[in-house]
Amino acid sequence: MLKDNYSIFLADDDQDDTQFLIDAFKELPQAVTVTTFDNGVELMDTLWKSDQLPHMIFLDLFMPMMNGEECLADIRNETKLSKIPVVIYSTMLDMQKAEILHQKGANLYLRKPSSFEALKDALTQCIRYIDEGGNTARGMADFIIQY
């Protein structure tokens, strides 16, 4: 179901990467509001307190204080958050780790692309994923988005 406005939460400690994401969303036709967090703790804080939940959460794995994997666990444990689609957003792609994250309930694994166009394409896929209802029952091949 298409939305008027897509609310996206992003947890990433890298300023440049954060900016890339915001800029890429801007260039997409859909209206997207991106809320960014420096680390996992701030993200979880807001998630717990907020009534307005995002349509999708992007988690970087390498973060201080609370890394992406830990956030994922918390999100999936919390009933009100458990249905929100989570995208693992990382430079690295270690297949074993990816499998683990898939089992732990991550919906997509987006390997940070090295071109802007690729990033836009990937985000479009993510939005389509939201539109399709955010179903996690996907095989590993569909789970991973890399270029």
């Binding site: 430079t91 090295s114 166009e117």
Partner: protein
């Protein structure tokens, strides 16, 4: 005078009522009396008197006895009878029915001129159309005429028929009453209290023992009452006869007939009659003999007492089984308070109820049953055995069953005793058996034989058995026909007794006897006694024999054993000796002992002498004490490698000896001797000592080495730990640094791409190209870092082997490479692969790498075709791959139709960073195959490649099965 009717009236006929009239009116002329004028004066007078008498009268006048009567008499004639015909008739004509009775009486009066008197005389009279029996009380009196002569008879009479009838009826009633009284077994008594007399019936007289007189003194009756009741009876009589009371009398007491002594218990019931003066004039009643009842009552009370006090269980129930009575003990047994509303089955222990229910119908069939069953105490909840006897109670007349009775005994104790008894009986059986066996095997036979033939005269069972005969066979037969051959000595002996007449006793006398038809020698302690006749002549032999075969046989065996034993000892190569008693007398010392330990001494010096006398040097050593200990305590003593110092001719000698002191017991179990076995082990001891020293040295050496080894191991373990730690560090370092290295490179790429996207028009061609090159360089570096990480992983990963189907793994890899395969149009043909124990992640890497390479090096215009094959192999001893010989491996080939390579490079391609082509031609880090080889090493497998330029390449991987 003439009456108005014309008839003459006479004054003497005046009055007289009806009869007077009839008489006056009758025509007397034709009657025997004639006309009344002719009647004599006496007649007239008599007639006048009669007519005016109110008393019945009848006149018989003259010798003809002509009859005349008055009104008072007339009723006696009844109706339809003689009245008035007999008036003026002759007697015999008037009274035909009784003339024979009255005529003589009338005649008597004429003769005697005296009156007659008859009371209640029966004189039949014809009247009322019949001849009736009538009773009369009458008098015939003479009537004299003027001359004083008899003229006629005057009858004055009363008919007493009714009275007589009544009297007769009364008599009858009285008789009937007496009869009734007789029938009732009652005594009757009638007391006159004023005169104190008693009338009683025969029965009462019998009971009281009274004289037979009708009336007796009351005191005589009182005598029969027994002493203790007299006062009571007297008072009761006084009470009854007192005018103020009701007069009723009812008392029971005991009487004793003083003649017969018989006692009766009687009940007197009666009534006192009081007259108007308030005096008791009559006191009468009946007497009932209640002796039987009394006895019955006593018996009844006894019975109740028996039932109530009985220790048995007694109960009564109706025909439906509802209980009507349980005696106190019965209630106690069951611990019931009452028996109300209970059924007979309620007594029964629940488990036995079924059986009980089967028994009850028997009661109705047979009339009784008796069974052992368990009752149940309601309170203690315990059950106990009872002998349950039940029977039906019938009404003797109607034969109907009126009740079910039970008299049952507690047999709990009996049951226990029964069990005990059974045990006891079993015990007795056992004992009997034992005894029987005893007798069987230790018999003393007694037999007598007569005559030269030694004929068996008498023989007991034991001796019969010995002779091998049954009772019938033996007696009367000659002994030596019964016994088998081999008993000639016996015959000689018995013959000699007949001659000498002397008793002979023999111990362990052998006799040959048939046992199971085989001749065997038995041994007997026997006495042969001569039998003599009155004259003193020896006529036979009595034999008393005790079968001691067993003990004799044993003795022989023992003797034999002893012999053998001695032989054994004497011949033994082991030094052996036997010392006897506390003096340790050397009874026996075999040759070896003599030679080894008693060297220099002769047998004579040793045998029979005390040990300490022969070897005084031993006194101060431990041996004598040990020997005595064995004798006293009976315990065997052994010592090994004991140092013995013996003084001999050759001087002081030292030995090492293994010795045993074994107690030899007598028959009574006491140790009386010691068997000594000694072994000279000096040589062994010395040798052992040497060996021990040597082994000690060896041990210390080994100890040293072990210590060294242990410390070396420790160091190794420590090193391994360090290495593992380092590995772990290295892994995470590699991972993190890989990430940290890649991050900036990616950003370079990203920013570069944005510049290109955003400012493409602003850039010069050179600028565009430069930026592209920057991006490319960054990509390459990223690839390198990835591969380095992979290579490092292959080296440091802790391997987790899993059993995996390689086909599935291959499919996963092909799926991953789907895009590449599709864009290049690569065709893949594959054999079926095995399932193996592998590190999944690493093997996937291998497949991925080899297939990617095959696609990469496919050649420009070629459609890549990759063929994957699989087979099982066993390699020969020597192989260049470093695989174990004779071990089974799976050999998988990945062959492509690409550009191939020079065979000389077949090994080199697996080195790190080794590339066969320039970067521009074929991209790659050069690490890939190095990683693959490392992975194969991790699996204890191997990889090799074969190729020729332009002919494609085949990669061979070997994995152990």
């Amino acid at each position: 005078m003439i009456s108005k009717t014309g008839k003459p009236q006479f004054n003497f006929l005046r009055g007289g009522g009806e009869m007077g009239e009839i008489i006056r009116g009758k025509n007397w002329k034709n009657t025997p009396l004639g006309a009344p004028e002719t009647w004599p004066q006496s007649l007239k007078f008599a007639l006048t008197t009669m007519l005016h008498s109110a008393f019945p009268c009848f006149i018989f006048w003259g010798k003809d006895y002509v009859g005349l009567y008055n009104d008072a008499y007339r009723p006696s004639l009844g109706s339809k009878g003689k009245h008035p015909f007999i008036l003026g008739q002759k007697g015999k004509d008037a009274w035909p029915e009784n003339w024979d009775v009255i005529h003589p009486l009338l005649q008597r009066v004429w003769q005697t001129e005296k009156a007659t008197y008859s009371e209640d005389q029966r004189i039949p009279i014809e009247r009322n159309d019949t001849i009736e029996d009538a009773y009369w009380t009458f008098s015939y009196s003479p009537i004299f005429d003027e001359n004083g002569d008899m003229g006629g008879v005057l009858t004055t009479l009363i008919e007493t028929t009714q009275a007589v009838d009544a009297f007769q009826k009364l008599s009858l009633s009285e008789d009937e009453l007496k009869f009734a009284i007789e029938a009732t077994d009652l005594g009757t008594w009638d007391v006159d209290p004023i005169n104190n007399t008693l009338k009683s019936n025969r029965r009462l007289k019998e009971w009281f023992g009274l004289p037979p007189e009708e009336e007796i003194a009351l005191s005589q009756a009182a005598e029969a009452i027994i002493g203790k009741d007299r006062q009571r009876v007297r008072e009761a009589i006084q009470q009854a006869t007192d005018a103020r009371t009701s007069g009723k009398y009812d008392i029971s007491y005991t009487i004793r007939n003083k003649e017969t002594g018989q006692e009766r218990f009687v009940r007197a019931v009666g009534r006192a009659w009081i007259n108007d003066d308030n005096i008791c004039y009559r006191f009468n009643g009946t007497l009932q003999d209640n002796t039987d009842q009394r006895i019955i009552e006593k018996e009844r009370l006894k019975l109740i007492s028996i039932v109530e006090n009985s220790t048995e269980f007694i109960s009564l129930a109706d025909v439906h089984g509802t209980i009507e009575y349980v005696n106190p003990n019965g209630l106690q047994m069951l611990a019931w308070d009452t028996y109300g509303d209970r059924n007979i089955l309620d007594c029964i222990y629940s488990e036995d109820r079924e059986e009980a229910q089967k028994l009850v119908p028997q009661l109705f069939e047979k009339g009784f049953f008796s069974a052992e069953i368990r009752f149940h105490n309601q309170q203690t909840k315990k059950h106990f055995w009872m002998l349950w006897n039940a029977f039906e109670v019938k009404d003797p007349k109607s034969n109907e069953i009126v009740a079910l009775a039970s008299v049952s005994t507690n047999i709990e104790g009996q049951k226990l005793k029964e069990t005990e008894l059974q045990h006891a009986l079993a015990q007795i059986s056992k004992e009997k058996e034992k005894f029987r066996n005893l007798v069987k095997y230790a018999p003393i036979g007694i037999a007598t034989f007569t005559g030269k033939q030694h004929i068996v005269e008498m023989a007991n069972e034991a001796s019969m058995r010995v002779m091998g005969a049954g009772k019938k066979d033996a007696v009367g037969r000659p002994l030596f026909k019964l016994l088998p051959k081999g008993n000639s000595h016996l015959k000689t002996l018995m013959d000699s007794i007949l001659k000498t007449g002397k008793t002979i006793r023999q111990l362990e006398f052998p006799g040959v006897v048939l046992i199971d038809e085989k001749p065997e020698t038995l041994y007997f302690n026997v006495v042969f006694r001569p039998l003599t006749d009155e004259a003193g002549k020896t006529i036979g032999v009595m034999v008393v024999a005790d079968n001691v075969t067993e003990s004799v046989v044993l003795k022989h065996i023992l003797q034999e054993n002893e012999k053998q034993f001695r032989k054994l000892i004497m011949q033994s190569p082991i030094p052996m000796a036997i010392y006897a008693g506390e003096e340790l007398i050397i009874e026996l010392a075999n040759n070896t002992m003599m030679n080894n330990f008693m060297a220099g001494k002769s047998e004579g010096e040793v045998i029979g002498k005390s040990l300490l006398d022969v070897f005084p040097g031993l006194k101060d050593q431990k041996y004598p004490r040990q020997l005595l200990n064995v004798i006293r305590k009976g315990k065997t003593y052994s010592e090994k490698e004991s140092l013995v110092v013996l003084e001999g001719e050759k001087g002081t000698q030292e030995f090492y000896v293994d010795y045993d002191y074994i107690g030899l017991s007598d028959v009574d179990g006491k140790v009386s001797g010691i068997m000594v076995t000694a072994n000279d082990v000096t040589a062994q001891v010395k040798a052992k000592r040497k060996l021990m020293e040597f082994s000690k040295e060896l041990e210390s050496e080994v100890q040293k080495r072990t210590t060294l080894l242990a410390s070396a191991n420790k160091k190794l373990a420590a090193s391994i730990k360090k290495l593992e730690a380092t590995n772990a560090d290295l892994e995470s370092f590699a991972y993190v640094s890989s990430h940290d290295l890649q991050q900036p490179l990616r950003k370079i790429q990203m920013f570069t791409s944005r510049i290109i996207d955003r400012d493409l028009e602003n850039l010069s061609e050179g600028g565009q190209r430069d930026f592209e090159k920057i991006s490319l360089a960054a990509s390459r570096m990223r690839a390198l870092i990835e591969d380095l990480l992979a290579f490092s992983r292959a080296n440091t990963d802790s391997p987790e082997f899993e059993r995996k189907d390689l086909n599935m793994m291959l499919d996963e890899v092909l799926e991953n490479l789907e895009d590449k395969i599709n864009t290049t149009g690569t065709r893949i043909e594959t054999d079926s692969l095995v399932t193996l124990n592998i590190i999944p992640f690493q093997i996937r890497q291998v497949f991925q790498n080899l297939i990617e390479n095959a696609i990469k090096f496919s050649g420009k215009d070629n459609t890549p075709v990759i063929t994957i094959g699989s087979e099982k192999v066993r390699l020969e001893k020597e192989n260049t791959l470093g695989l174990v010989a004779e071990k089974e491996y799976v050999h998988i080939t990945v062959a492509d139709n690409g550009i191939g390579f020079e065979p000389q490079f077949a090994e080199k391609i697996f080195d790190v960073f080794q590339r066969l082509h320039a970067k521009l031609e074929y991209d790659g880090t050069g690490i890939g195959l190095a990683i693959v080889r490392k992975i194969m090493q991790n699996h204890n497998g191997a990889i090799s490649a074969s190729s020729a330029p332009g002919k494609g390449a085949t990669f061979h991987i070997y994995l152990p099965l």
